[in-house]
């Protein structure tokens, strides 16, 4: 080996140099640490002479963090379910997963641990992660037994976060539950309203459902309203992995409090924002994202109705404004942009101009909405209706996949067909429903894991 050493070193030096060059090149191309707003219309050229639907894709890209050292410090509350059903393996895995995940954080971060059964116990009050052992020790004392006071658990977790709440931190409650909330408020809407309120303070709630006993609607509502992540973990052994992903997300947040306001112009009417909660006031649509992760695209698809236009004309459909807090520069920033459409009488021209990625996203979200509706239909007992809805969605996906030559949409079509089969299975529905809800949630929010 010694013989090769000089050459080896030389290669290393060269590599280093190359890296520097490429880094500086990137820095030049990206020269600002700023979220990029990309507005696109699925059909930039639209058929003239008729009112039609159009999909506007508002895509936000998180910039790359310069390095681990500059990441945004986190303020995390881990809220663990220690109800009776968590007994044995589950609680043990949960404890270990929490400890392992905390291992990724350092002394910049603040952690707190709350455990709940019928009552809520603050196991570790919010504290800077300088001395780990007492915290790990406290986590290891958590034992299972009792009911599920989920609401109070989340409340106390949020209260711990508030002690050090800071818009320049990633404030997050990570909730693990394996059962139905049965003490205190227990409806998805009540938990959703709590999530909504927490989101306004910049707190996200990530919900991890363990096993087959939890209420997936409640968990997705809570996560959705506060723009956290959601995961379905059937096997407790996978908790460690999910916690790792989650903490990876927490540590890669680059922007927070993204308030997106879309104003539709020239008689364009907003129909719905696909997959996300929003307020629609006439021609204006408002929504918010709690955070944006590094090097990750989050997008919204707005369905609008465009009034009939003459061929050859050009129309401004909407203007978009995004306000956000940049965590790298620690400054508030604003982005804006406009969406235009051209109108043409030629079918071919319309087809040629199609913005493939934007349409793909739009199709994906539309199909996702259909899938959601299918689950609702299934809940009402209409298995056939749900099934045919999914089949319709698969058909739509198939047609679009072919037109766009998109393998992703093709895969989604197959998924939809599989889901249609799963819908009819009576005994395994509980698991299927959790899987479906998780999938829909991840698709709607472009969750990283």
């Amino acid at each position: 080996m010694n013989r090769y050493f000089p050459r080896h070193r030389w290669i290393t030096a060269l590599l280093l140099l190359l890296t520097c060059v490429s880094l500086s090149a990137r820095a030049q191309t990206q020269h600002k640490q700023e979220v990029t707003l990309d507005l696109s219309l699925a059909t930039p050229v639209m058929a003239a002479g008729a009112a039609q639907k159009a999909y506007i894709k508002i895509s936000l890209d998180g910039f790359e963090l310069p390095g681990r050292a500059t990441r945004t410090p986190a303020n995390v509350a881990i809220v663990l379910d220690r109800s009776g059903s968590m007994g044995g393996d589950k609680i043990q895995h949960a404890r270990e997963a929490a400890i392992m995940a905390l291992g990724r954080l350092d002394e910049r971060d603040i952690v707190s641990v709350v455990a709940y059964d019928s009552q809520v116990e603050v196991v570790v009050p919010a504290t800077r992660l300088t001395d780990r052992q007492p915290i790990y020790q406290a986590i290891r004392t958590i034992r299972a037994g009792g009911n599920t006071a989920l609401f109070a658990g989340v409340s106390k977790g949020a209260a711990e976060l508030r002690k050090f709440i800071d818009r320049n931190r990633v404030n997050r409650v990570i909730l693990l539950s394996d059962g139905l909330a049965n003490v205190g408020p227990q409806t998805p809407s009540a938990l959703g309203r709590l999530g909504q309120s927490l989101a306004k303070e910049g707190i996200s709630v990530t919900t991890i459902g363990l096993g087959l006993g939890y209420n997936e609607d409640l968990m997705t509502q809570l996560a959705g309203m506060s723009d956290g992540n959601h995961a379905f973990v059937e096997n407790a052994a996978d908790l460690a992995r999910i916690f790792q992903y989650e903490f990876g997300d927490v540590m890669s947040v680059v922007a927070q409090d993204l308030i997106i306001e879309i104003r539709c112009l020239n008689g364009v009417r907003p129909l719905r924002l696909l997959g996300r909660d929003s307020d629609v006031y006439g021609d204006r649509v408002r929504t918010r994202l709690n955070q944006l992760y590094s090097e990750q695209e989050k997008y919204l698809v707005l369905e609008v109705e465009v009034p009939a236009q003459e061929a050859g004309s050009e129309l401004e459909l909407a203007s978009v404004q995004v306000d956000y807090a940049n965590l790298a520069t620690r400054q508030a920033a604003r982005l804006d942009g406009r969406v235009r459409a051209q109108f043409s009488a030629s079918e071919q021209e319309v087809q040629q101009a199609v913005d493939k990625p934007a349409l793909e996203s739009a199709v994906e979200q539309v199909a996702n909405e259909l899938s959601r509706e299918a689950v609702e239909l299934r809940d009402q007992g209409d298995v056939q209706g749900a099934r045919s809805l999914l089949q319709k969605s698969a058909e739509y996906l198939g047609a679009q996949a072919e037109a766009l030559a998109s393998p992703e949409l093709k895969a989604q079509e197959e998924e939809a067909l599989q889901d249609a089969d799963k819908l009819s299975s009576e005994d395994d529905w509980n698991r299927q429903r959790k899987e479906l809800r998780e999938k829909q949630y991840k698709r709607a929010t472009q969750q990283t894991y």
């Binding site: 009552q119 109070a152 205190g184 408020p185 303070e201 006031y281 021609d283």
Partner: protein, 595 residues
């Protein structure tokens, strides 16, 4: 008789024990009641302090909202800009929705002339009845209790005073109350369907419990208050604030957030078990479902104490759960029972010692009686011989020549006979007494003429009595043979006569009388002596009792005579009684012959 001493001793032990036990129990009960009361008071104080803690939240929230309302008012120009209101809602964690009513209670926001978001539309649907109830935001104008409110207004200028002074004007306007009662039947139905779509919302499912509190601040134009409004089986808390131009800003709180904040003001499980120990406090909503609880005690059951919360959480309550007081006082029982047991053991030991002493004395006494008995028996045989030979000698002397008769010898012999008779009566008494004591006395009834027997006895006693200055007279009244025990009659009469001889010397006449009272043989012995002191009338019959007076001084006696005589008479189915008489003592013997 045999068990009386034991019984007495047992009573002696048990009575103080029972008494002390009862007293102790009562004392403990009282103490428990006292402790219970104190505990109740303590619990109540605890619950009240929690209530005031929750009130603090509302106060702080009120201050915050007032400030924010002031901020919004400054932006109004002249109307409140919808954009600013909307972005306020977007940013406020506590406030879910906002509404603005103009001076005539007409809705300004959510705007009438602009399209509304879904949530705004839902709010409008829900709150329409509230806005239409006149006077809800003008409690001082329409409320009959207005003068009271105004009178207290200067005192309650500050928010804290306002809460401390309690509920100033808590009542629902009349039309709302009636609506409430009309809809009450549908309440369970409505509450069952928790999350119903907004489209189903109708006036029917809306019911309200509206309590209004009004506060008048320095300027007359601004006022504010809390309203608790039920819609869709959900409790909405609304804080309203009147701006100086008479418009009303209503902040509809996010109910989940409100509860979350309230929960965060309450202790967690760790603090709870430290503060409460073996108890639990629960926060319950209007339907009685537990929203939050802390403390170690888990069991369900009747709450020890329940406290309704103050407005605007009027329909909620706090409950204190703990094990029943009796169980908490279990060690107290120990403290009562243990000393009682010790005392009982001590008393029983003492009783046992006394009993043993008593038994020993009893055996000793019995031994003594046996001894006397035996001695008497031993004396009886030689005495019989003495009497026999004395009588034989008398006969011999009577049979002998008159001339050789020496009157002194006759006299001596008489004395010997008399004294030996007296001695044998004494011994007979002692033996009868001991037989009676041992219940071995057996009557030997035979047919005889009592008059003759009395005559005979009197005859034997006559010399002795005359010697003592007593002249016996007998008035027989039976004159026929009867079946009775002559030995018993003789012994009774012997005792009476010898008593008479002893205690009533020189009294003159001693009258005896006999008669038949149906089947009873009756004999009356009446002397003319000093009589018996009325105080002693009962006791003279007691064995070994000798009436102590001048009378008995210097006179020897065993003290068993009268008692024995009466026992004999009673054993014979009759009695010996002391009759009342003016002078002297009068005894009446009554023996049943028909046996």
């Amino acid at each position: 008789m045999k068990y009386r001493a034991a019984l007495l001793l047992i009573l002696l032990v048990l009575l103080p024990l029972l008494l002390l036990g009862w007293l102790g129990f009562r004392l403990q009960q009282n103490e428990q009641q006292l402790v219970g009361l104190q505990l109740q008071k303590l619990i109540e104080q605890q619950l009240e302090s929690l209530d005031s803690e929750l009130q603090t939240h509302f106060q702080q929230l009120e201050r915050l909202l007032q400030r924010q309302a002031g901020g919004l008012y400054r932006l109004a120009d002249p109307d409140y800009p919808s954009d600013r209101l909307r972005s306020f809602i977007k940013d406020s964690a506590q406030v879910q929705q906002l509404f603005v009513l103009d001076a005539d209670d007409q809705r300004q926001f959510p705007p009438r002339d602009q399209p509304l978001s879904l949530e705004e539309q839902r709010l409008v649907d829900r709150l329409q009845p509230l806005w239409q109830s006149p006077g809800l935001f003008h409690p001082t104008a329409s409320d009959p209790s207005a003068p009271a409110v105004q009178a207290q207004a200067p005192v309650a200028a500050k928010a804290s005073d306002y809460f401390a002074s309690g509920q100033l004007a808590q009542r629902a306007p009349a039309e709302l109350s009636s609506e409430l009662s009309a809809d009450i039947a549908e309440a369970p139905l409505a509450s069952a369907q928790m999350a119903e779509p907004a489209a189903e919302l109708s006036d029917q499912t809306q019911r309200s419990s509206v309590k209004t509190e009004a506060k008048r601040t320095e300027t007359d134009t601004t006022a504010s208050g809390w309203i608790a409004w039920y819609a869709d089986a959900r409790l909405m808390h609304i804080y309203w604030w009147r701006d100086p131009e008479g418009r009303t800003l209503g902040f509809v709180l996010n109910d989940a957030r409100l509860l979350s904040d309230l929960i965060n003001r309450l202790p967690d499980a760790g603090q709870g078990s430290q503060a409460l120990g073996e108890a639990q406090i629960r926060l319950l909503d209007s339907q009685g479902t537990a929203l939050y609880s802390w403390g170690d005690y888990q069991a369900n059951g009747q709450a020890l104490r329940s406290l309704g919360l103050s407005h605007p959480l009027g329909s909620w309550r706090l409950e204190y759960h703990a094990p029943a007081l009796q169980r908490a006082a279990a060690p107290l029982w120990l403290t009562l029972v243990a000393p009682l047991l010790l005392l009982g053991a001590g008393l029983a030991g003492l009783g046992y010692l006394l009993y043993r002493e008593h038994r020993r004395e009893l055996t000793l006494a019995r031994q003594r009686v046996n001894f006397v008995n035996q001695v008497s028996h031993e004396l009886k045989t030689p005495l019989t011989n003495v009497r026999l030979y004395a009588e034989m000698l008398q006969q011999r002397l009577d049979d002998g020549s008159e001339e050789t008769a020496d009157p002194t010898v006759n006299r001596y012999l008489g004395v010997i006979t008399d004294e030996s008779q007296r001695l044998s009566r004494l011994i007979e008494n002692v033996l009868s007494f001991s037989r009676l004591q041992r219940k071995q006395l057996k009557l030997a009834p035979e047919t005889a003429n009592p008059d003759e027997q009395i005559e005979r006895i009197l005859h034997t006693f006559a010399p002795l009595l005359r010697q003592r200055g007593i002249e016996p007279r007998f008035a027989p009244g039976i004159e026929q043979p009867l079946t009775y025990d002559p030995a018993a009659l003789e012994q009774i009469l012997n005792n009476l006569l010898s008593n008479c001889e002893k205690y009533a010397p020189d009294s003159g006449e001693l009258r005896l009388r006999s008669w038949l009272d149906s089947t009873a043989l009756c004999v009356e012995v009446r002397d003319s002596g000093p009589g018996i002191d009325p105080a002693d009338r009962q006791r003279i019959f007691e064995p070994f009792y000798r009436s102590s007076s001048r009378l008995t001084d210097g006179v020897s006696g065993t003290g068993i005579g009268l008692g024995l005589a009466r026992d004999l008479a009673r054993a014979h189915g009759g009695d010996l009684t002391l009759e009342a008489s003016d002078s002297g003592a009068c005894f009446q013997i009554r023996l049943e012959t028909n046996r």
